[in-house]
């Protein structure tokens, strides 16, 4: 069976997020002066062929920890998703 997952990678709190800052700095120029703490992360989608959902999830979590995120600077979360 094929299982679809989404993986969300976020920079750890307290680490400078240059993309978030650039967006945040642009907003007042557009008239939005009440926005703060803009953070940009990564959204990764993948399909896994596996016997059951638990096995698929375990594998995706391993992929997330080993490759998709660097634990020194990032937090990662695996989200089960239904492909439409």
């Amino acid at each position: 069976m094929k299982f679809h997952f989404e993986v969300i990678v976020r920079l750890k709190e307290g680490l400078l997020d240059p993309q978030g800052k650039a967006i945040e700095d642009a907003l007042p120029h557009m008239g939005w002066t009440n926005v703060s703490r803009v953070r940009v992360g990564k959204h990764i989608e993948l399909d896994v062929e596996a016997g059951d959902e638990a096995a698929a999830r375990t594998q995706v979590e391993e992929i997330a920890d080993k490759l998709l995120a660097n634990p020194v600077i990032e937090d990662v979360r695996v989200v089960e998703a239904i492909r439409s």
Binding site: L15, L16, P18, L67, L68, N70, V72, I73
Partner: protein, 237 residues
């Protein structure tokens, strides 16, 4: 009897830029430059390995994140575990951090800008493959060119790095004094380069290979290659 010249392997990853300059610097200074390929699973006969600068795998995902899983990296890890010199410059430093051969990580410059300029480095430790024979406090000049060179580490790692003297180079002014003005990327504690516990694995953001020929600029890279050659041959001898 002919004197053995130190054989320094330079790995080319897809997207490496400074591999040729690194090979040229090695040859210019009297070593033997050995081109290596990321897809090789065995190392050729080399006394030291250098991971050059560039943008391996387009910096996709994170700088160095994909290169660290190249076939050659298992062999590099074994080589490092034997105590042989492994040097990472710029993207090479990023790869060594991603591979866990050095602590911490390199993130986007605090200025949000790519920096390309000459910097001064203060030698902090002589207990490394790049700085044996140099005195702490010595100041060297060479260029940086990177968008993601801000060194960061988790508090416990940072404490260990500083406590155990793993910092090899700090950004400083020409007088050797570190200040924000002379820190090109906002690196924590102005850290420009560091070593592992044994000192045989060293990573740095500045480019010693671009600073060896007096005809084209500062030569702060020369003593680092001299140290590397000596360390490499010592292990062979």
């Amino acid at each position: 009897m002919t004197e053995r010249r130190p054989r320094v392997g330079v790995i080319t990853f897809p997207g490496s830029l400074d591999d040729r300059d690194a090979l040229r610097a090695v040859r210019y200074l009297g070593g033997e430059g050995v081109p290596m390929w990321h897809g090789d699973s065995q190392l050729p006969d080399v006394d030291a390995v250098l991971l050059p600068g560039g943008f391996s795998y387009g910096d996709y995902l994170r700088t160095g994140a994909i290169a660290r899983f190249s076939p050659v990296m298992d062999a590099v890890r074994e080589f490092a575990e034997r105590g042989a010199p492994v040097i990472g410059v710029c993207n090479g430093f990023q790869i060594l951090c991603e591979a866990g051969l050095l602590p911490g990580a390199l993130i986007r410059n605090a200025s949000l800008r790519f920096v390309c300029r000459f910097v001064h480095l203060r030698v902090e430790s002589e207990a490394s493959a790049l700085t044996a024979g140099l005195a702490p406090g010595e100041v060297l000049q060479m260029p940086v060119k990177h968008g993601e060179g801000q060194f960061v580490a988790e508090p416990a790692d940072l404490e260990r790095i500083e406590g155990e003297g793993l910092v090899v180079f700090r950004y400083c002014g020409p007088d050797g004094i570190a200040s924000d003005e002379h820190n090109p990327n906002g690196a924590t504690n102005a850290i420009a380069g560091l070593r592992n516990d044994r000192g045989n694995v060293v990573g740095l953001m500045p480019h010693p290979e671009h600073a060896v020929d007096p005809d084209v600029g500062p030569i702060g890279g020369q003593p680092l290659f001299a140290s590397l050659f000596e360390q490499a041959l010592e292990r062979v001898g």
